[in-house]
């Protein structure tokens, strides 16, 4: 349940200003949807810490910062693009919330696979317009929390991905979201709609990046539908600037026998929230992997919700966190097993490593089980590096920092090694290795 409080005037004003024409302002269905979302936001505003789901994450810094709406894409240099775009993928690139055709590459995409910006979908063939209309706001929770309404009211663009029935696409699709230098002090709202139709198979990545030291807000919502017997792998790499704010959600519906693997890698932003929700159909199979690695004063909130509403579904959740310095990690994992969801098999595991006395982790597994014939297991650990292992490594000649780095890296790398697509694995590995300053950990040895 969301708890209402007075909406922040600055952000409420952004909704009513309407200075620039919005994407889809000539589509009446979209206009009315946006109006409804605006009204709800005007009433409830952003979530407050009083809301149980937000008790560990105070977003008052976002309210104080008074970010303004990004109105156009700024410049992005070649070097950053090279770093962001993964090899061997189709690319759809958004800068400051706007689609950039020049940076995108979709050649060789099969005919029965749709990958296009929402801004184009509105003027595309009827089938694609219908898809847009059908998917938008269809998977997110009701009532939507403030950031979702804010996004619905203001999204400037985003991706529409549709894999047709019985289609398997080998090459992953990367949706790259970049904040340019001009994106400083701006906020962007992107919306992604992904559907894997019956018996299809695909891999989609979302990556979030910005310039070092740039302060901005990314507020993104992804809605996912995995139809019967479809197999969708979805990974999300949040490598925003360390001064940025990132609120991101993946809301999914798994139909009968659907397979969905969702992986979350959190490295950037001074404050971030990653929300992953899945509603599981009969015998659906859902895997949630997560890794969050925080330093300095980073705050990383990971929120997952698995709704086992039908029988025979399986879920496997494994999140790992490494918190250094004064960083704070949050893991809230909720599993709801409905009365009819017999033979549910749900596993949840959250392991955390605290590297300093100032670091903090709040971990909260929540199991709500209303069915009687289910298997549910959860495990949570918060620990420190093993002194015996540090001593052993040092006694062999690794200096103390090196020994600690090796052990910390090993802890986190377990999640990295699970990534099967090599360019993504290397990218996540790079992000992880960046967290070991003055390190002599070299990729060639891993």
């Amino acid at each position: 349940m969301s708890v209402t409080h007075l909406p922040n005037t600055h952000y409420a004003n952004l909704l009513s200003a309407g200075s620039t024409p919005q994407m889809g302002s000539d589509a009446s269905w979209l206009v009315s949807l946006r109006e409804r979302a605006s009204t709800e936001f005007a009433e409830a505003g952003f979530p407050a810490p009083r809301d149980e789901e937000w008790r560990y994450t105070n977003i008052s810094a976002i309210e104080k910062n008074q970010f303004t709406l990004s109105e156009k894409a700024g410049e992005v240099d070649e070097a950053l693009l090279d770093e962001v775009l993964l090899e061997g993928c189709h690319h759809l690139v958004f800068v400051d919330g706007f689609y950039q055709a020049a940076y995108s590459s979709l050649s060789g995409l099969p005919d029965d696979v749709t990958v296009m910006p929402l801004s184009e979908a509105l003027n595309a063939i009827e089938e694609q317009q219908d898809l847009f209309k059908a998917l938008l706001d269809s998977v997110v929770e009701e009532p939507a929390q403030g950031f979702i309404n804010f996004n619905t009211a203001l999204f400037t663009d985003g991706a529409l991905v549709c894999i047709a029935e019985n289609t398997s696409i080998e090459k992953p699709i990367q949706l790259a979201f970049i904040s340019s230098k001009d994106g400083a002090l701006k906020l962007t709202n992107c919306r992604n709609l992904i559907i894997a139709m019956a018996s299809s198979k695909a891999t989609v990545f979302e990556t979030y990046t910005g310039y070092d030291d740039s302060c901005y807000l990314t507020n993104v919502v992804t809605e996912v539908v995995v139809e019967p017997n479809a197999n969708l792998s979805h990974s999300r790499l949040q490598a925003e600037s360390l001064k940025a704010y990132h609120i991101g959600g993946v809301y999914s519906r798994l139909e009968d026998n659907a397979i969905f693997q969702q992986c979350n890698y959190v490295f950037g932003a001074v404050l971030s929230r990653a929300e992953v929700h899945a509603n599981l159909g009969v015998a659906a199979d859902c895997t949630l992997d997560g890794l969050y690695v925080g330093q300095d004063h980073q705050h990383m909130d990971n929120h997952t919700r698995l709704n086992h509403s039908q029988p025979h579904a399986v879920s496997n959740e494994f999140y790992k966190g490494v918190m250094a310095d004064s960083s704070r990690g949050v893991f809230q994992g909720r599993i709801i097993v409905a009365e009819d969801a017999q033979k549910t098999d749900a596993k949840m595991n959250n392991r955390n490593l605290l590297l300093s006395e100032r670091a903090e982790v709040d971990t909260k597994p929540q199991l709500e089980i209303y069915a009687d014939d289910v298997k549910c297991a959860h495990g949570v650990t918060v620990g420190q590096l093993d002194d015996a292992a540090i001593f052993y490594l040092r006694s062999r000649g690794a200096d103390e920092q090196m020994a600690k780095n090796m052990l910390t890296f090993a802890f986190a790398n377990e999640m990295v090694e699970r990534i099967s697509f090599e360019p993504l694995r290397m990218k996540v590995l790079d992000e992880l290795l960046k967290r070991f300053p003055q390190n002599d950990m070299k990729k060639e040895w891993l």
Binding site: D386, F391, Y392, R394, A398, D399, A410, W445
Partner: protein
């Protein structure tokens, strides 16, 4: 090389070592034997620099330098190596990664250039062959899921790659079957060298059948109560530790 002078060590207020004197020179093999609780393992850990011990009196010199003032890794760099009685499992860190970090740490300290990947792998594979170890061990996490014998063999592998000048072996024979004991002992004997010294800490004489010591010391109740040649180990084996303890009492 190593000079221990009147070393007194306590753990949580309880005195474990009560005045150890020992001198080990390059090229020598010393066996330190003693019953359980005599302080053997404490002595090994003190040399390697494990935390949690209070040194109340005495000193330890290594090549004339105060060993006890050195950090754990400085000791390793300077040439001290402890083969653990219970080698520690390090999940997620591969053997090869640890070995390479260790060797390059030591080389750096001694002003040598770091070994590149090819040279390093070549070096390690050769040593593994000598110890009859499968190369797949290189890529496995350090000691994780290793059998007791594999762990001990891994210790000797590390020792032969890092080439320390002072090798302290803590109960290396425990958990080894006869074949493994032979392989491990051969590995140690291959490393015997006029510039290198060994301290074998052991409860049983068994290891000394394969690694012949120059000196045998009997440790009891925190003191070296008897020293002699290799024959002393045999005498101990025959008469048991109670023989020493009785003599001590009388």
């Amino acid at each position: 090389m190593l000079k221990i002078e009147d070393l007194h060590v306590s753990v949580e207020g309880k005195e474990i070592l009560r005045g150890i004197n020992l001198e080990v020179n390059a090229g020598e093999v010393h066996a330190i034997m003693g019953p359980n609780g005599s302080g053997k393992s404490t002595l090994s850990y003190i040399l390697a620099g494990r935390a949690g011990y209070e040194i109340t009196k005495g000193r330890v010199l290594f090549h004339g330098k105060d060993l006890l003032e050195m950090s754990v890794e400085e000791r390793a760099w300077a040439g001290v190596f402890l083969a653990f009685q219970y080698p520690v499992e390090v999940p997620g860190v591969s053997n090869i990664y640890m070995l390479k970090a260790a060797l390059n740490g030591i080389r750096k300290y001694n002003d040598l250039s770091e070994l590149d990947a090819m040279d390093f792998i070549g070096l390690v594979k050769g040593k593994m062959k000598d110890l009859d170890m499968d190369e797949k061990f290189l890529y496995r996490a350090v000691n994780e899921g290793f059998s007791g014998g594999e762990k001990k063999r891994n210790e000797i592998l590390q020792m032969s790659v890092l080439e320390p000048t002072l090798c302290v072996l803590d109960e290396t024979d425990s958990g080894l079957d006869i074949d493994a004991l032979k392989i491990v002992s051969e590995g140690v004997n291959r490393l015997r060298d006029p510039s290198r010294a060994f301290v074998l800490v052991t409860h049983y004489q068994r290891l000394l059948d394969y690694i012949k010591p120059d000196f045998v010391h009997v440790l009891a109740k925190g003191r070296i109560v008897k020293s002699g040649g290799a024959d002393l180990a045999l005498e101990l084996e025959e008469k048991g530790y109670s023989w020493v303890e009785e003599k001590l009492a009388s």
